[in-house]
Symmetry: C2
Subunit: 380 residues, 2 copies
């Protein structure tokens, strides 16, 4: 320390010289600015734009106003503490916030993210509790024919050399997300750290794998091709069964038993969880869907063997959707079909639309139900 | 499969309904478009901008031209295969490419990234070789007083339950990067996978930790405060020594020996590697700096105990800088000072500026020198 105190580092010139090779920024503006009352001011410099909107996750677009420096701004009403995706739509083009380094990974829609902080009781807030780890795996998929990845959360205290074994939740992202979605945006690792520290969830491994069996589906028109949609599902299932699950169960201390395997996901991943899980009750004892999108029209053909015998095999079939989600009708229809087959499910309708705010809360409620000895049976 | 073939999934309506909650995109444009001859066309819709430039890593800005649809575009000369950061500077504001999902994590400058693919012999190309894993760790730092993270690469075949032990490279990012820089942008894991598969580098663990002892330095003015700069260094060192290294050596099969510990980094991380490493030869036997930025003016005070005895302790002192880097003069001056002290170093000057293209190549050359039994002594 004494050495350092006598030393003048000439960081300034050298680093500023390096920075000068990057674009020269205009005078910096602050965006987003979260105020004490939970209102948020967003600012965006674009002196020649004619019209700029703020597009925020779960909210209608609102107009921004330009000042004499060419900076557009708007202040929201107080927001419930959470993380919100947003972008600026300038003359019709969606742009991330150049003043904010927090970006949402997504394969079709680049967005920024703002954190409105809340109390420690919110499961997505980082608390001073033991933290698990997130492991990033890379492999060549023979099923799909590409190089791909998956993420694995191991809970606090996980020790690959110890004898303790863990149940596994396969947790699937939605259309246009990548494999990092549930950790980078959904904060699944933070949520589980908190739930485990509170004794609410059992320590578990969570596998977050790429949900595309046909990656070429990730385009603005890809979902319109029925053959592509089918290939996306079946190859996803085949990659999961023959590549990801065997790799995970070889490397991690995972219980290899249907009673210790759950599958759940959001939107496209919710439909995948239902399709894969309910057609493989020999592999999965717990199934969940959050705002499932992509449910079949011909459910009898999609689930040809599913009947009320499933009630004695499923520890949990948990089907959630926000009431402001445009997918609520399709989800209600699916639940009606289950009823017609006398298959019991836990039906969850929450406030909210097709947003990560809903899905973080879904995971917070769903994860504690998993792998509990005295877990309630699904009820209607 | 038969089930799927009989089933028509009505993905379209449900998913498009979900997408409709996101900003309505204008007709999609393709950007970047990498052509067979390695030229790249960049496109950006901004009908009302008066002036748009392409700012590409390692290149002078070039003007883009607007067509009648309001789409600005430019096509580069053929580019050497690599990954390039870039942004669009529209009326003075740097923006990432809204048509490209590949974004560079950085705490001050949001940029997109374009991949100009090259032959398998390039170490940053993903090849069909065994892959290591990247582990993301989270902890509360008592030294710095924040919640922070580090990444650990384990090489292919690493088995936490086996007896084999590995040497460790501590690899530090530059100013404005975050802890993910070396994996997400530098592709250190891909580079090591390839070098190990070719038998060129020894299997090693790589620890990529957050390089800020004083995170508040990460602002456009932070580096101008000498007290802040000093605190940034010393607390970084203290967090490394008392938190990160002990955690890594507890959890991973790391050889706890100076002969099996290396430290290297780029730009600010290069200066940190020299400062930390050369003042702790009891801990590190291998030291490298790539385009070091932030070298002290008073080197004698920074390295009070360093003298030619270091020659018998250091397996390698490797100091690299691009000849087009504005930091080349400071690096040459530092090497002259080492010569004046009769301390031997491997001096590397390469083509290139202050860019990740230089640093990927630096790591490709540097990593194979590490931990080799017959490693050459540093020479002048």
């Amino acid at each position: 320390m004494a050495v350092m105190k006598r030393t003048l580092f000439v960081f300034t010139l050298t680093v500023l010289a390096a920075l000068a090779q990057s674009p020269q920024p205009p005078p910096p503006i602050i965006s987003p600015e979260v105020h004490a009352d939970k209102t948020v001011t967003f600012r965006f410099r674009d002196p020649n734009a004619k019209e700029v909107f703020l597009a925020r996750e779960g909210a209608a677009r609102i107009s921004m106003q330009k000042d004499e420096q060419g900076v557009w701004s708007v202040t929201t009403d107080p927001l419930e503490p959470d993380f919100y995706g947003y972008s600026f739509v300038a003359d019709g083009v969606g742009l991330i916030d150049p003043s904010n380094s927090l970006m949402k990974p997504n394969l079709l829609n680049n967005e920024s993210e703002v954190h409105v902080p809340g109390p420690n009781s919110l499961t997505w807030e980082i608390n001073d509790v033991p933290h698990g780890e997130v492991h990033h795996h890379f492999y060549r998929s023979a099923v799909v024919g590409d190089d791909r990845d998956y993420f694995v959360y191991t809970p606090p205290g996980y020790n690959p050399s110890a004898k303790k074994m863990y149940p596994v939740l396969y947790l699937l992202h939605g259309f246009s997300d990548d494999a990092s979605g549930w950790s980078a945006v959904g904060r699944a690792n933070v949520i589980l750290d908190n739930l485990i520290a509170q004794g609410k969830a059992k320590p578990m491994i969570i596998v977050m794998t790429l949900g595309y069996g046909a990656p070429e589906i990730v385009s603005r028109t890809g979902m319109r091709d029925p053959g592509l949609r089918e290939r996306n599902y079946t190859r996803f299932r085949d990659a999961l069964f023959t590549e990801v699950i065997p790799q995970v169960e070889k490397e991690y201390r995972a219980v290899k038993d249907r009673n210790a395997r759950a599958i759940a996901g959001l939107s496209m991943g919710g439909a995948e969880s239902l399709y894969v899980g309910l057609n493989a009750l020999d592999r999965f004892g717990w199934v969940g869907s959050f705002s499932a999108g992509g449910l079949s029209e011909d459910l009898a053909a999609t689930f040809p063997k599913l009947d009320s015998k499933a009630n004695s095999e499923l520890h949990l079939l948990w089907i959630a959707c926000g009431t402001d989600d445009r997918l609520i009708a399709a989800n209600r229809k699916f639940r009606e079909w289950l009823k017609s087959k006398e298959i019991r499910a836990t039906e969850i309708e929450t406030p909210g639309a097709h947003t990560w705010m809903v899905w973080r809360r879904n995971l917070t409620v769903f994860a504690p139900l998993l792998f509990q000895d005295g877990s309630p049976r699904p009820t209607n």
